[in-house]
Symmetry: C2
């Protein structure tokens, strides 16, 4: 038998991932809305409270929950400390409140309430054990010689507050084991990434770039407002079966190879390519970047070139073929003979896992705080679950970005087991309904509690069809969308800034991809894109509403080429309205509906708009407002909103 | 560390109620579709199987699962025995199948496959440990002097079957603890209820009916095709504060009172009202009914009249008021002074629970197999969870019908914790969209796994607005809908058959409700309603497709007054098409779309229709077909469909 006096059912608690198998994720300072279905038999009044504490607190705070509709209750709290939080729900029948409600109805129906007064007094006496001042009220109710006064005192406003503020909690039900909220750093939710190949960092043409060259680019990256600088792998590149320009099967002499073919006689995952410099140079770069507020993100690609030291030292970590050769990567009939994947089904998997963990720990010792993981979906998900937890035991602030462009369930699973951020399908979401539906899926769907998107308009692997052979407006529009829809954003930088738009025919691959060669950019050059990126990144930094992906509200617009959305902080102190013309060629116009209710406006509207991009001011006094965007002037508005309260 | 060689994730397993907190429900012979998300890293081929066994089996059967879309897999089984079933999922990387797929692609691309043949042979040798005949195939692949023949043998149809039929299961992942399916009797899913007050059973007017009178009505009920006869409470009725005609606060002498005010000096929940007869009479009635295939359903109303023996014997089971009186039922300011509710928060709750359990056990000893529970939502849900489980330990076939017309979450919770069937909102779902949406919610929503609807067009408590002052067609339409939409159906019988349609003004209550008086029906009379109910009930009995609620498919009809739906068995051997004119007054017509795909038809259509109600035959040779229903002839079609396969 359970405890038969407990009559309350608490179920369907949110936020929860897979019924509690994984914690829901938040970042420090974020709001956690807790919801649950809470009900009991009969018509007695229920009260419920949320008990919440951070990991280092022992006494939970108690927050009264409020009913919404259909037996749903809610309460919320903010993750003020960067610690995991734990919560549970308590619910009980409040006989005092039930009695009070019945009392009022009976008095209204002119029913005698003498016995009810006695019942109320008895409950007040019970409550007075903790609040002695309530004895006075009990005495009033018990004074049978002043019936009318006693009734009046129960009907007073003061009494209503007593009932609300002094829940009578006798028998209560709890939701059981505390549920966990994983709280991560602010940067997990708000980061601005720039990617370049360090070998292409030389300011003077004709030579291989080095970490020292990269040092000289830091001021440029910083001035543009980026706070993560992500490098493709910096390790020695395999010499055996090295790939040539445009993915040729064999490199010719002097070709640098793909940095993702890791390892040679010069070392493996814990070494740097000598042509880039030394580990000391890298550490210097990491610490100089940090001074400018930039984290260097390291690429982790767990695979080996045929001449990687692991291949000799740990033959059992690779699959042997019947002819004695080692299994190279393949996607039949395609062969990738410059890459040996690890065989995670090896009997020696424990040593393999430990070694891979040690790679993370090694680079953390060099100052790295962010890892972009290459193709995590081709290594076992349980491995990521384990290794991320192990890394977080050493430093809970480490950020992992999952580069898995694959099926939805696998991308989601990687996020559940610990990846902090994830690449997304944004890269291929182009028109208004695609963008709107995708954002709603991310923000309102169940993945909101574990999948943090990072929007990339391009990567070294992907020149999407809609950017191929396109001019600057297409590039501007896609960055503006990425950086305002999502608080985590990144670009494969110089290629994007300088509008590289030539693909290999029929593919989404760059022609003359930098993956297989050293490039020389005119790093001193800036252009319209550079300026716009710089302004967008500045606006993101100065407006907290753009530092969250979860606070978006789309606005109705009577034109499918215009997309408009509001980003608002919980307290409405910061409001940004973004309006983008999705058509890079033509002027588009339409009426936009202000989301009045979301920003707490009644009928009187008086809103000042300041466009950060054009330095123009507008005033809106109606719900529907005309907007016209000439993309050749600027393809989007980035409005700061301020509400002028009208005084009657 | 988990076992690092296991790379598969199995999640989102269905059917499951509240993450496994409660078992999913089926009845014997029903299909269970098991679904799960199953995936792993990389591109290796996955295979998965469902392991299923009934409670008395120790060795599970293994059924291969098939992938559908988006990493979802499924397999199904039938609950052949009336025992609970247990299932789990096994999934593994099939290296043989992965190899086979790559082999075919490589051969197609004219890649040399010598090493691949050796790999295949090695896997065949591994498989031959269980299937020795595979050695022959291994030898073929190993014969390097006949390369072309070896390749050809792998590409043969025979080899494809070998790969499919001999999954190579090395390292596998299981879904963990077995999940349970609660399997109940066929009657849990298919029952036809008739309710009358036994005190109104006398064939001759002017006297209180008895169980012996009820005996004489059995042939009538049986001829109409009902298999459950449900009586309001048959216990002694309280004499203190007894209610009079039309719910008058006080009865006058000779008035019988409400049977739900249980208990008097004549006994309580384990006694019968002397005016109805003796317990022996009741047992006789139960056994005679059983011979005709009818179960007597007993009403369980856990509440007491002020003179119930419990009130004296177990004062602590009731709430005492400060003036020494016992708390009567109330819904402030309304008082129900003829009813004392139990106080389930009593310190003596264990004795109370045991006593209430003993009430069920007592009536089971008298032969009762079905309990209709009055207002279960005013008693603690955890009590029902416990008491139903306890009853089922004695007899797993006992059926509980939950009479909870309340908020959705509470109705659902009662079903989750064990109620076999539930009253529903059907009583108030009238127009086409209401009916369609409600059915979709019941059949496609999560409650499908635990909430078995029982559709009632009326009850002694509810004369719904849409039947008030209406003529026979309205009654016919509502029974036809209830009995074909839902496989469990019931009516408050004589009142419905004889079209009682007078309410208390403005309420959904019957005027001169039988709850407070003895009625005299002309039980020898039959009418159009009687005949139609009889035919509908016969068609239900003869057509297995009408014996499930879960197999419904709505058809498009170009007229909102016509509702049409197909009921089909899994094997399509039994097909019923129901078309109802929701307008009781006017002829309505429209085109109905045959759900071609559901019944496995391609372009050629040749369907014979037989209307059970009018004995008419039709042939349909097109997808869209004209139907016209004159409600004064018959407000609905009940078509038996037979498909004539056209031979080319």
């Amino acid at each position: 038998m359970p405890n038969g006096q407990q009559r309350i059912i608490i179920e369907n608690i949110q936020p929860l991932v897979d019924g509690g198998l994984y914690p829901a994720k938040r970042t420090v300072g974020e709001k956690v809305e807790v919801r649950a279905s809470i009900f009991a038999d009969g018509h007695d009044h229920i009260r419920a409270s949320l008990w919440v504490r951070s990991a280092t607190e022992t006494n939970p705070a108690e927050i009264l929950m409020v009913p919404t509709a259909n037996d749903e209750w809610q309460a919320s709290f903010y993750t003020l400390k960067q610690e995991n939080y734990f919560f549970s729900i308590h619910a009980w029948i409040d006989h005092f409140d039930t009695w009070y409600d019945g009392f009022k109805k009976k008095v209204a129906a002119r029913v005698d309430v003498k016995v009810e007064l006695m019942e109320g007094a008895s409950m007040l006496r019970q409550l007075s054990l903790e609040k002695p001042e309530l004895i006075l009220w009990a005495t009033k109710l018990e004074d049978s010689s002043h019936y009318a006064e006693a009734v009046a005192s129960v009907l007073s406003d003061e009494f209503e507050k007593i009932v609300y503020n002094h829940p009578l909690k006798e028998i209560f039900t709890t939701s059981g084991k505390e549920l966990e909220i994983l709280v991560e750093s602010k940067k997990a939710n708000f980061s601005t990434w720039y990617e370049f190949f360090p070998r292409s960092s030389a300011l003077d043409a004709g030579r291989h770039g080095t970490f020292r060259d990269c040092l000289k680019l830091l001021p440029r990256i910083s001035a543009m407002g980026f706070d993560v600088l992500y490098f493709p792998p910096i390790h020695p590149i395999g010499k055996i079966n090295r790939k040539g320009k445009n993915n040729n099967v064999r490199a010719v002499a002097g070709e640098p190879g793909s940095p993702w073919a890791i390892g040679s006689d010069e070392g493996g995952h814990k070494s740097v390519l000598p042509a880039l410099g030394t580990i000391e140079d890298f550490k210097k770069l990491v610490s100089e970047a940090k001074k400018m507020g930039i984290d260097i993100a390291m690429d982790i690609a767990f695979q080996c070139a045929p001449d990687h030291p692991y291949v000799k030292e740990h033959k059992s970590w690779f699959k042997q073929r019947p002819d004695g050769s080692i299994q190279y990567a393949e996607n039949p009939p395609k062969k990738y003979q410059d890459i040996y994947p690890f065989n995670f089904e090896t009997e020696d998997w424990q040593a393999l896992w430990q070694e891979l963990l040690s790679v993370f720990l090694f680079w953390m010792e060099q100052g790295v705080k962010i890892f972009r993981v290459d193709n995590p979906h081709t290594k076992p998900i349980p491995f990521w679950h384990w290794v991320i937890a192990e890394v977080h035991k050493t430093d809970a602030d480490i950020i992992f970005l999952s580069e898995a462009f694959t099926r939805p369930k696998i991308m989601e699973s990687l996020a559940k087991v610990g990846f902090t951020q994830s690449y997304t399908y944004f890269t291929w979401r182009v028109n208004k309904s695609e963008l709107t539906n995708y954002m709603k899926e991310l923000v309102q769907g169940p993945s909101r509690n574990f999948f943090r998107p990072n929007f990339w308009p391009n990567t070294p692997d992907i020149l999407p069809y809609h950017l191929q052979h396109q001019a600057e407006n297409s590039f501007i529009i896609r960055y503006a969308l990425a950086a305002t829809l999502s608080s985590n954003v990144g670009v494969y930088g110089p290629s994007y800034e300088f509008y590289e738009n030539t693909p290999i025919d029929g593919k989404e691959e760059y022609y003359n991809s930098e993956k297989y060669e050293v490039r020389h950019y005119d790093w001193k050059k800036t252009n319209r894109m550079t300026d716009i990126m710089t302004m967008i990144n500045r606006v993101r930094k100065e407006n907290t509403s753009l530092q969250s992906t979860w606070n978006i509200q789309f606005c109705e617009v009577g034109n499918d080429q215009l997309i408009a959305f509001l980003k608002a902080t919980d307290d409405l102190s910061n409001l940004i309205l973004v309006v983008v013309n999705l058509d890079p060629h033509q002027t588009q116009s339409g009426y936009i509906q202000l989301p009045k209710e979301r920003i707490g406006l009644a009928d009187k509207i008086n809103i000042k708009l300041y466009d950060w991009m054009t330095d123009e001011h507008y005033t809106w006094i109606q719900e529907w407002n005309f907007v016209e965007i000439n993309p050749h002037k600027m393809p989007f508005h980035l409005f700061q909103l301020s509400i002028h309260q009208s005084h009657m």
